[in-house]
């Protein structure tokens, strides 16, 4: 069985540093998979490799059977891969609504000239985009903030706006980079529900980087563990939790070896 997102043997080195080595992953259609590992393990590098920010030195990445290697980031985004960022990277000077509409443009094909000249087709497309954007804001509970400038939103809302913006690309795969970072327990519970809701509603497959183990273990069906750029375990949450290599990566080697 092949998944919607298939990654095989992906490696990248920066100078002498082998940041990610022989990474593999298979994300099932409609699946919710976790990507965990200690700080500096290479998780965000994996996201950058998947979205075309970095081009891997070797390996294959395919989305729905289409090869993604060599495509530019905007082409990969249009092919159906959307992401959020560990450090929020909204278009801070733009309104909440415009942040979403920017991403929606990738899905529409009105020409630049048509939009400048305000042809009826372009106006119709534009109002469809706005409608779709408002719908997304509604789902994410941001509808009443549509006209606010993104930088003025509270932190939790900015995190949700990032998810809304990613959804505006109408993706098949959603990559979430530490969506719970900086959230309080109540917000984390709400986020958990939100991730489930959007996955159902937009029939997405989700790959999640997260440090909050409670959240990961509860949400994900499959977990891949990364340490020093290599996959040290993958499988169900239970099997990963009991894996001695994973425990070692997080907690260090058993005390007998430490004393040496």
């Amino acid at each position: 069985m092949t998944g919607i997102l298939e990654v095989q043997g992906v490696s990248i080195a920066f100078g002498g540093l082998k940041a990610v080595q022989d990474f593999r992953l298979s994300l099932r259609e409609g699946g919710l998979q976790g990507l965990i590992g200690p700080n500096g393990a290479g998780k965000t590098t994996v996201f950058n490799l998947l979205t075309g920010v970095y081009r891997p030195d070797s390996g294959t990445v395919s989305l729905g059977g289409h090869n993604l290697i060599g495509l530019k980031p905007h082409q990969i985004a249009r092919a159906g891969m959307a992401r959020t960022f560990q450090n929020i990277r909204l278009f801070a000077d733009l309104t909440v609504l415009d942040n979403i509409r920017i991403a929606s443009h990738a899905r529409t094909w009105t020409s630049t000239l048509a939009s400048v000249l305000r042809t009826p087709g372009a106006i119709a497309a534009e109002s469809a985009i706005t409608e779709h954007a408002m719908e997304l804001l509604d789902v994410l509970g941001l509808a009443d903030r549509a006209q606010e400038t993104a930088r003025n939103l509270p932190y939790g809302d900015q995190r949700r706006l990032e998810i809304a913006r990613a959804l505006a690309l109408d993706p098949e795969v959603l990559l979430l980079d530490e969506p719970a970072a900086g959230m309080n327990p109540q917000e984390k519970i709400a986020l958990r529900g939100l991730i489930r809701t959007v996955r159902e509603r937009f029939s997405l497959s989700v790959l999640l980087i997260e440090h909050d183990m409670g959240l990961v273990m509860d949400l994900c069906e499959q977990i891949t563990v990364l340490d020093h750029g290599t996959v040290i375990a993958d499988g169900s949450p239970e099997s990963v939790q009991g894996n001695p290599r994973v425990i070692e990566a997080y907690l260090g080697a058993p005390s007998a070896e430490v004393s040496a």
Partner: protein, 305 residues
Amino acid sequence: MTKLLQTLMDGVSVGSLYALIALGYTMVYGILKFINFAHSDIFMLGAWVSFTLATLMGWTSDAPWIAGPAVICGSMLICGTIGFVIERLAYRPLRAAPRINVLITAIGVSLFLENVGQLEYVFGTRPQRMPSLLPDTVLASVAGVSIRLVDVLVIGIAFSLMGALEYLVFSTKLGRAMRAVSHDLKTASLMGIDVDRVISITFIIGSSLAAAAGFLTAAKYPSINQPAHSNWILFGLKAFVAAVVGGIGNVRGAMAGGLMIGLVEMFGAAFFSPNLRDVYVFTLLIVVLLIKPDGLLGRATVEKV
């Protein structure tokens, strides 16, 4: 009173030329965060291409009414293409390089354009006289101020182009993409925006606005200096000052800054000393930078630690 109005008219007229050029500096800075030193040469090319087109068409005297519109459009088209080619060949390969490399490349492009322009078979090294494509008529006299057609056209065309740009940047899909790329190029590409295309369009627009300014300058001051003359650079430099005064990277700021520079220069020249006109401009720059280092409409950048 007459002198006041006349100076106001001159100031707005020159200021709108500065504003047109400043827009190119500010748009490129806004997106690529570097100062395109070759921009003042595009302005020079705008004037020289206009002259060449007019001469080639034989519109040296008694030009038909179509001559003016045809020449300005032709010049904008040609210079827009040149701007596109410069970005494609000189700047794009350096996209990932440190800013200083691109900056030095821009100086190189600037020298290249000036020197190619001086070649005998291009524009040559002699100054020329721009044929008057627009009738030099005085439209009206208000309170002793003669309102010349040239000034009205300069102001009218400059303001229409600025209005069109304002519309483009703030009310269209392309403008939204430009603002997104300007804010964060990498994130914009991850949101499906074809960044290379947006940058190309930015260069085309900026260069054609500079070309329009070149045409209008030649229409207002018909003696065209040779391509490498320092007056071109000085004019471009003042437009750059306008962009900085308004807040570099800010489209509305560039328009406001241009008008302000034009007014300060003309009022200084008329009421104090015409010899110090450049001094007023650069004094204004220093004062603005002391009071508001990000420019009049610039946003204060807060460094997060």
